[in-house]
Symmetry: C2
């Protein structure tokens, strides 16, 4: 099926200038923008771990495989340009599954003008798995690293947290356009996206920058989905916001005045465009996560999803 | 295991200038060479389809996952620069399997000075699968496409064909250095690597260029492994050379005088460096594969491995 499927895929794709030669040769020819650096991200999802093929729409599954990688590019401050997709398909109904997944892949690629530069397909005796590599452009030296945060930086988060497994983990908006607006404002020292849990990922950002954070626990934006999810699973809303993960929102460490400007600018946007932007803490020299509690600082243990622990 | 494993991997890797920020952030920062284009290739291998984890050395399996992608870069005339690796690991012994595969991945990356720019790991209820994306540099406009062959071009092949499943499919040399020498000679109009079968892949190259080929069947180089493999499987040596696949040699369409120069230059190299280079036919305007037989042309049906047919 591979050859005929790839021919179908070629026909469905828009021609984009960044890819001179696309699917159908031994490799694709990609034209990088002069003077820019590239950000490369690669992440896969697997049936039974990251989604459930018998419950979720396969178009949404395909979309998610791309979106998690676009989220990584956004977290690096990069503009997406191209992806490569490796599909591992269970033998039964392989072609139908591939076509259904690609509906979502094509849709999100069209939305963000991302070229599909490669598409390998394997049919095997195993669960549906989609592995995606994404390539984006960033101005030379301007990528947002986890390690760049400075003491005194404001810690901002986009959106709200918790209960993403109710469905948002499949349908979230990768923060590409929001990251573009932050770049225009400037003053971003570090960023990352929340895949494993707000507190766990924030702890990693702090560790990369050899800093800690003093959190304003009451400011942490809790998603409406956290309520019904907590009712199903137990635990408090805050625990779910801190540890559920798969929110795919951005944590940003920003120079405090730029952070103020960013929040004001975002709030001034039309409701259908703006992304809620909240200051949840300040970076400090004392490593670890800290919270104010009855007048003194207490240490918060990071919680979230640790890959490869089952 | 993912975080600690990736930390181990970071420590094992050489620092290479093309990757400014490697594993450990949301993405890697890659510095493209000024004025060049990039070739992107992505291909995966799966236990039970492309190797047998209980029979093959996992280091060789890891090496193969990289080598098949380097072979694609060589077939495009590109110099490899970086790879990204997605490992899907069966739950049992996940860490040991990952470490064993990476022995081979690190070895071949070291050999060709390729940076590991990303390394995602998923533990799941399925067979070992390794998906690799490779990135290489090529002079602007100089990538070797399947579609560039011209009528009258000589068709050359590197190496010899058949019986690769006896073990060569795991241990082949991707033709990176050979491709570099061909670039220096010039006159290459089209190229591809043989993964699915010499006749099937040659037929694809011809179709992409809207040409056909007149083959000199006696010139087709048959690998010594074709003999024992034919004894096991039945069939003639030539049938195995034409259809076995996984040889990962190059088919090259070259301007005839440049082809002569290339064969002479290769033959003049020391034995441990040179790659056998053989002219097996000439490209013609009449599409399809053709062979001389008792004085007239007969059509040859392409044979090989069709992906996704089981």
């Amino acid at each position: 099926m591979e050859q005929s499927f790839l021919a179908w895929l070629r026909g469905r794709q828009a021609n984009l200038p960044q890819v001179k030669v696309g699917i159908g040769d031994d490799g694709a020819v990609f034209v990088p923008q002069a003077g820019k650096e590239l950000v490369l991200a690669s992440d896969g999802i697997v049936d039974g771990v990251d989604f459930l093929a018998d419950q979720h729409s396969l178009a949404e599954v395909g979309r998610k495989a791309v979106a998690i990688n676009l989220s990584d590019l956004a977290a690096m401050g990069a503009e997406p340009a191209a992806i490569l997709v490796n599909l591992s398909l269970p033998t039964r109904s392989a072609t139908e599954i591939a076509a259904a997944c690609y509906e979502g892949i094509l849709e999100i690629c069209d939305q963000y003008q991302v070229a599909i530069a490669g598409g390998d397909i394997t049919v095997y005796d195993g669960p549906l798995a989609i592995s995606v590599t994404a390539i984006g452009h960033v101005e030379s030296g301007q990528a947002w690293l986890r390690s760049g945060a400075k003491e005194g930086d404001s810690v901002l988060v986009s959106g709200a947290f918790g209960g993403s497994l109710l469905g948002r983990h499949l349908r979230f908006t990768p923060r590409i356009e929001f990251a573009r607006r932050l770049r225009a404002i400037g003053g971003v020292h570090a960023a990352m996206d929340v895949s494993d849990g707000l507190s766990l990922d924030l702890d990693r950002l702090c560790a990369s920058s050899a800093l800690g954070v003093e959190l304003d626990m009451e400011a942490i934006p809790i998603h409406p989905d956290a309520g019904p999810w907590a009712e199903q699973q137990g635990g408090t809303l805050l625990e779910h916001a801190l540890g559920d993960g798969e929110d795919f929102e951005l944590i940003v460490a920003m120079e405090p005045k730029a952070a103020q400007r960013a929040m004001a600018a975002e709030a001034a946007l039309p409701e259908d465009v703006r992304v809620p932007l909240t200051k949840i803490g300040t970076l400090t020299g004392r490593t670890g996560l800290w919270m104010q509690k009855t007048g003194k600082l207490e240490r918060l243990s990071p919680s979230g999803y640790i890959h490869g622990e089952q």
